[in-house]
């Protein structure tokens, strides 16, 4: 009898996923963009999506970020005030608010993510002003702080991004995105088009920021070295389908699917 009234032992609660993607399906006319994609992303986790060109990884990222409409599926995000909510069906003002507070999107080409006619400081300050900051001194102080964190000198603050090198533009784009303290960052080939030494610095910087801020991130890339360094988990895509998932080291060191094996063996060992 007494055993029956003892309260049950607390079951260790599974943490709530920050982002839960369910059966994303997107076609372009009759062609598959991506299909049957489901996964959970937990707070502080970095997920890599790899695959060749045309495998649907960028389509998937844009679907999740709400940049292009999805044919079916759900993208549930753990919002601060209302818990898990499907971002694909939420109202547009809400989604845009989310996109400039809790989310960030780093484009492959910095020019897509920056305002090229506005100074570096203005670029970083834009998100702050978009959420209501109206004190010039404070905005500027935060911009200085963030430019410092991405290793851009304070005296370059009033220069336009067009006067910056490719690597600096990319770092500026990252600063601009992270200034409002987002919880989830989407990155589309963040190191694409940069030379290797600049890539290495950027990766170092990203790894530091992700660990320090406890960010969750989804990184789309075709560069296996990038995911090896940054990602906790890996998803391999081919022809719009996910062919393999798992821990990064596990997938890269012991690839199971034929395509993953091909991908891993294609990397030139120097």
């Amino acid at each position: 009898m007494s055993a029956q009234i003892t309260p049950p032992l607390p079951i260790p609660l599974l943490p709530v996923p920050l982002l839960s993607v369910k059966d994303i399906h997107k076609t372009y006319g009759g062609r598959i963009g991506c299909t049957d994609v489901s996964f959970d992303l937990y707070p502080g986790e970095v997920m890599g999506i790899v695959g060749e060109s045309g495998s649907g990884k960028s389509t998937l990222l844009n679907c999740m970020a709400g940049h292009i409409p999805t044919d079916s599926g759900q993208v549930l995000f753990d919002t601060r005030d209302r818990g898990l909510i499907d971002t694909l069906t939420m109202s547009e003002p809400e989604r845009r608010m989310l996109a400039r507070t809790d989310w960030a999107f780093v484009h492959q080409h910095a020019r897509d993510g920056l305002r090229m006619s506005v100074s570096a400081g203005g670029n970083v300050g834009e998100r702050l002003m978009a959420v209501g900051a109206r004190h010039y001194g404070d905005i500027r102080a935060q911009a200085v702080d963030w430019l410092g964190r991405v290793e851009i000198d304070e005296d370059r603050m009033d220069d336009r991004p067009s006067a910056f090198s490719g690597g600096m533009q990319q770092r500026l784009q990252i600063a601009r995105n992270l200034v409002t303290g987002p919880r989830l960052v989407f990155m589309d080939e963040p190191t694409g088009g940069l030379d290797v030494s600049v890539q290495a610095r950027l990766l170092d910087l990203l790894r530091g920021l992700v660990r320090e801020m406890g960010l969750s991130a989804i990184i789309v890339t075709h560069d296996l070295a990038v995911v090896r360094l940054l990602a906790d988990r890996l998803m391999v895509m081919k022809s719009g389908h996910v062919v393999e998932t798992g821990l990064t080291d596990q997938v890269l060191d012991d690839p199971q699917h034929a395509y993953t094996q091909l991908l891993v063996s294609s990397v030139l060992q120097v």
């Binding site: 845009r96 506005v118 100074s119 203005g122 834009e126 978009a130 109206r134 004190h135 010039y136």
Partner: protein, 288 residues
């Protein structure tokens, strides 16, 4: 009898414009699209303002037209003649006597009252245009009240010049909702926009009409630590001695000589008639 329909435009067109005006007044600061007509003048000369004026005029109205505050500049004279010919209405240069005032780039110094309509000529109605070139995007930003970008422009000003250097077409927020371009009036005039008269804005080339109803709250955007400052040249008027009016700077010789005069010619003439004198006023002897 004039061969023109009253005020040049046909009745259906005026009706269409009036509908846009009414909608604009119902939603202060919102840019209402309208089917702008070709007018017998080039774009940029006030085609939007002329269409709005034409739609507002009645045979009993008295019209005043100013350009940069002056009644006697080419643009003002031409538009005034245009309506004298096509509408056969009374015209005046006295701000107080006019019922409809079409203006380019100024608000008259004399406070306007109920029963008056101020019509602005607007070159580019979209305040966000220079930062966001996509019309689809700016419309969305207005709809969702996303006006952070407007402050980015002011931020850039301070970063580059140390203060908000925008001195005309200074963005305002109307009735706590829409951000609006007040047309290229000097920012000195911005505080006057909370007035008793109806303010209508017509952009002919861009095909937009917007409005500020009487006694509507109009706030100039700024930063907490860089408040809005309605600045003007730091001089009194050299003809009438006024210290509270917006001044034009006039170069008078090739040795650096210059004078400052009220840009509102009617107001300046009125003060001179009342005996006010400035630094360069003609003396009594010289006048005789």
């Amino acid at each position: 009898m004039s061969d023109y329909n009253f005020a040049y435009l046909d009745e259906q067109t005026k009706r269409m414009i009036r509908r846009a005006i009414l909608k604009g007044i119902a939603i202060p600061g919102y840019q209402v699209p309208f089917a702008s007509r070709e007018m017998p003048m080039p774009y940029g000369w006030g085609t939007g303002g002329v269409q709005v004026t034409a739609a507002c005029l009645t045979p009993e109205d008295t019209l005043k037209v100013i350009d940069q505050g002056a009644d006697d500049t080419t643009n003002a004279v031409s538009i005034r003649k245009f309506f004298e010919k096509t509408a056969e209405i009374a015209v005046t240069e006295k701000t107080g006597d006019a019922t409809v005032i079409q203006t380019r780039h100024r608000i008259p110094e004399e406070p306007l009252g109920e029963g008056q309509i101020l019509v602005y000529q607007v070159p580019i109605p979209e305040p966000l245009r220079f930062l966001e070139p996509r019309e689809t995007e700016t419309r969305k930003m207005h709809a969702l009240e996303e006006y952070g970008l407007m402050h980015v422009k002011l931020y850039e000003d301070i970063a580059r010049h140390g203060h908000i250097a925008t001195s005309y077409a200074y963005p305002v927020k109307v009735e706590g909702r829409y951000v609006m371009d007040p047309s290229p009036i000097p920012k000195f005039d911005n505080p006057k926009m909370e007035m008793a008269a109806i303010q209508l804005f017509g952009a002919g080339r861009e095909q937009r009409i917007y409005a500020v109803p009487p006694y509507t709250k109009v706030v100039s955007l700024d930063f907490e630590d860089h408040p809005f400052d309605p600045s003007k040249a730091d001089h009194p008027c050299d003809l009438c001695g006024a210290e509270h009016t917006y001044l034009d700077e006039v170069i008078i010789d090739d040795a650096g000589g210059r004078m400052f005069v009220c840009s509102d010619t009617d107001y300046c003439a009125g003060r001179q008639a009342k005996g006010h004198r400035g630094r360069l006023s003609p003396t009594e002897e010289a006048a005789q």
